[in-house]
C-alpha cells in the first residue's frame, strides 16, 4: 500500500497525478495564454518529478535532464509561444472547446484505457514507480485528444508538446531516464520544432489569414 513507500516515492506519485491534472486543465482551457501557462506549469512539474527521481534513486545525470526540462519546457518554449501569441495579437482570441464536458469525460476514459493497457507491464516489474507509466501514457493520449479537439494551430502545438512531456515522463519514471545523448537530442528536437512551428504560424496566417487550421482544408479560390 501507499504508506509503505517513502515520502519521496509518494511525492513522485503526487507529481504524476498533478501532471495528469495539468493535461486535463489544458484540455478544458479555451484561452490561449492560459493554455500556455498550464503547459509551462506541466513543464515545471515534469522537471520537479525528474529531480525527485534523481534524488530518490541517486541518478545524478537525471539532474541535468531536470534542469533541461525546466529551462526548455518550463521557461523557453512557453515564453516563445507567449511572445508569438502576443505578436500575432491572438491573446484575446478564444479557441472554444465544443462539448467541454464530453471532452473531459473522453479524457477520463483515456486514463482508464491507458491503465488497462499498462496493467500487464506494471505487474511484471517490482519497480514501485512503474504505476506512473500508465499516467504517462494517459498524458500522451490526452495530448493527442487536445490536438484533435482544437482548431487553433497554437493549441495544437501545445498538445504536441505535451505529448512529448508524456513520453519524457515515461522515460524518467520507468527506466530512470534515457541515455544522456538521446535526451539531449530530444530536447533540442523539441526546441527546433518550437521554432519551426513559430515560422509555420506566420506562413499559415499569411496564406489563410487565420490560425484556424480547419480552413486549410478549403481551397483558397472558393468564395467564402
Amino acid at each position: 500500500m501507499l504508506d509503505e513507500l517513502s515520502y519521496y516515492h509518494q511525492a513522485i506519485l503526487h507529481l504524476a497525478a498533478l501532471i495528469t491534472l495539468s493535461s486535463f486543465l489544458m484540455l478544458g482551457q479555451s484561452r490561449l495564454l492560459r493554455l500556455i501557462g498550464v503547459f509551462a506549469a506541466q513543464g515545471f512539474l515534469l522537471s520537479a518529478s525528474t529531480a525527485l527521481v534523481a534524488q530518490t534513486h541517486d541518478f545524478p545525470h537525471l539532474y541535468i535532464s531536470a534542469l533541461l526540462s525546466l529551462l526548455l519546457k518550463g521557461l523557453l518554449i512557453p515564453m516563445m509561444l507567449y511572445r508569438l501569441v502576443m505578436r500575432m495579437n491572438l491573446h484575446r482570441e478564444m479557441d472554444t472547446v465544443e462539448h467541454p464536458a464530453g471532452v473531459m469525460m473522453g479524457g477520463a476514459t483515456l486514463v482508464v484505457f491507458s491503465y488497462y493497457v499498462c496493467l500487464p507491464i506494471v505487474k511484471l516489474s517490482p519497480l514501485m514507480t512503474l504505476n506512473t507509466i500508465s499516467v504517462s501514457l494517459a498524458v500522451v493520449l490526452l495530448g493527442m485528444l487536445l490536438m484533435i479537439t482544437r482548431r487553433h494551430a497554437v493549441a495544437q502545438v501545445v498538445g504536441f508538446m505535451s505529448i512529448e512531456n508524456g513520453l519524457f515522463f515515461a522515460a524518467v519514471v520507468s527506466t530512470m531516464g534515457m541515455p544522456m545523448v538521446v535526451e539531449l537530442g530530444i530536447a533540442f528536437d523539441v526546441l527546433v520544432a518550437a521554432v519551426i512551428f513559430g515560422i509555420f504560424f506566420f506562413h499559415i496566417r499569411s496564406s489563410i489569414d487565420s490560425l484556424d487550421v480547419d480552413r486549410l482544408s478549403k481551397l483558397s479560390e472558393v468564395e467564402e
Binding site: 501507499l2 509518494q10 511525492a11 497525478a17 498533478l18 482508464v112 491503465y115
Partner: protein, 315 residues
C-alpha cells in the same frame, strides 16, 4: 456518558454555526476595507427575526410552514452525526456518508418545494436553479465519497477519520483531488460567491435567497440558521476528513479540549480561504456553473482513478 457528549457536541455545532458565519463576514469586511460587524451579529439577527411576527403569503400551503422546521431539523440531525470534536462518538455510527448526502438532499427537496409552493416567479426560478446546481453537484460529491470509501475501506465518517489518523502522514494523490472537488462542491452547495451570492438580494442572480424570499420572522430565522449550519457542516467535513489531526480520540477532558481548539483553528483557517476566494472571484454567470461543477466532478473522477492507478499495488 458518550451519548451525553454526542448531544453536547451537536449543541456546540448548532450554537457555533452563527459564530462561523459572523467570522466569515468579518474576514470579508476586513478584506474589502469595510467596518466589520461584531462577531455576534448573526446571533442578534437570529434573535431579532425570532421575535418578529411572521407573515404568511395567502397562497401558502402547509408545506410552506412545515419546510423551515424540516430543513432545520435535518440540519441538526446531520450536525449530530458528523464528528466535530471527538471521533468515536456513538452518534457517528448511526449513518454513513451516503446517508449524509441523503440528508442534504432531503433538506433541499423541502426547501425547493417551499420555494415553489407560494407560486411567485422568484421562488420557482430559485428552486429550478437550486435543483440544477444540486443535480450537478451531487455526482461530484458522491465521487469524493467513493474515493474516501475506497481508500479507507469504509463509508462511515468516524471510521474513515480513524483510518486517516492511524496511517499517519501519507501523501495520497487521490485525497488532494478529492479535497479540491469537495471544496468546489461545498462552495456550490452552500451558495457562496462564484455560484451564488449570499449577501445580495439582486433579483436576477440570486438562488438561495430567491427560494426563501417570502419567509419572515421565525421561519426566516430557522432557514438562515439551517443554512449557517450547512456551511459549517461542509467546513467540518473538509477539515476533519482531510486534516483530522488533533481531533479528540477518547473522551478525556484534555483530548476533548484539544479537539475543540483544533477544529476552531481549522475552521478559522478554512474561512480565511473562503473569504479570500469570495473577495477575489466575481460571481459567474448561471450557465457557467455547469462548467464549474463538471470540473469538480472531473476532479472527483481523477481522485478515484489516481487511487486505483497510483495507490494500489499488485505485489
Amino acid at each position: 456518558m458518550a451519548w451525553i457528549l454526542a448531544i453536547l457536541q451537536t449543541l456546540l455545532f448548532i450554537g457555533g454555526a452563527p459564530l462561523l458565519a459572523g467570522w466569515i463576514k468579518m474576514l470579508k469586511c476586513w478584506l474589502q476595507n469595510r467596518n466589520a460587524p461584531s462577531l455576534l451579529q448573526p446571533y442578534r439577527d437570529l434573535r431579532k427575526l425570532w421575535r418578529k411576527e411572521s407573515i404568511l403569503p395567502e397562497s401558502a400551503s402547509w408545506i410552506f410552514t412545515a419546510a423551515p422546521y424540516l430543513v432545520f431539523t435535518v440540519a441538526v440531525l446531520t450536525a449530530a452525526v458528523v464528528p466535530l470534536v471527538a471521533v468515536d462518538l456513538p452518534s457517528a455510527r448511526i449513518i454513513d456518508v451516503f446517508g449524509l448526502v441523503g440528508f442534504f438532499a432531503l433538506a433541499r427537496t423541502f426547501l425547493v418545494l417551499a420555494g415553489m409552493d407560494i407560486g411567485t416567479a422568484f421562488g420557482g426560478m430559485g428552486s429550478s436553479r437550486e435543483m440544477t446546481i444540486s443535480s450537478l453537484a451531487e455526482p461530484a460529491m458522491l465521487m469524493v465519497v467513493f474515493t474516501l470509501a475506497m481508500s479507507a475501506g469504509t463509508t462511515n465518517l468516524s471510521m474513515g477519520m480513524d483510518y486517516v489518523l492511524d496511517s499517519g502522514l501519507v501523501l495520497r494523490p487521490s485525497f488532494v483531488f478529492a479535497l479540491g472537488s469537495l471544496m468546489l462542491v461545498a462552495v456550490a452547495e452552500t451558495g457562496r460567491v462564484p455560484v451564488d451570492n449570499p449577501a445580495t438580494h439582486l433579483e436576477l442572480t440570486m438562488i438561495h435567497e430567491a427560494m426563501i424570499l417570502e419567509y419572515s420572522g421565525r421561519y426566516l430565522a430557522l432557514m438562515e440558521w439551517a443554512s449557517q449550519i450547512k456551511l459549517m457542516l461542509y467546513g467540518v467535513l473538509i477539515a476533519n476528513i482531510f486534516f483530522p489531526w488533533y481531533i479528540g480520540r477518547d473522551f478525556s477532558p484534555a483530548a476533548l479540549g484539544q479537539g475543540l481548539l483544533a477544529i476552531m483553528l481549522k475552521l478559522a483557517l478554512l474561512s480565511v480561504l473562503l473569504a479570500l476566494s469570495e473577495t477575489l472571484l466575481a460571481k459567474m454567470r448561471i450557465f457557467r456553473v455547469q462548467e464549474y461543477l463538471s470540473f469538480a466532478y472531473l476532479l472527483g473522477v481523477l481522485g478515484m482513478l489516481s487511487h486505483i492507478i497510483l495507490e494500489v499495488y499488485y505485489a
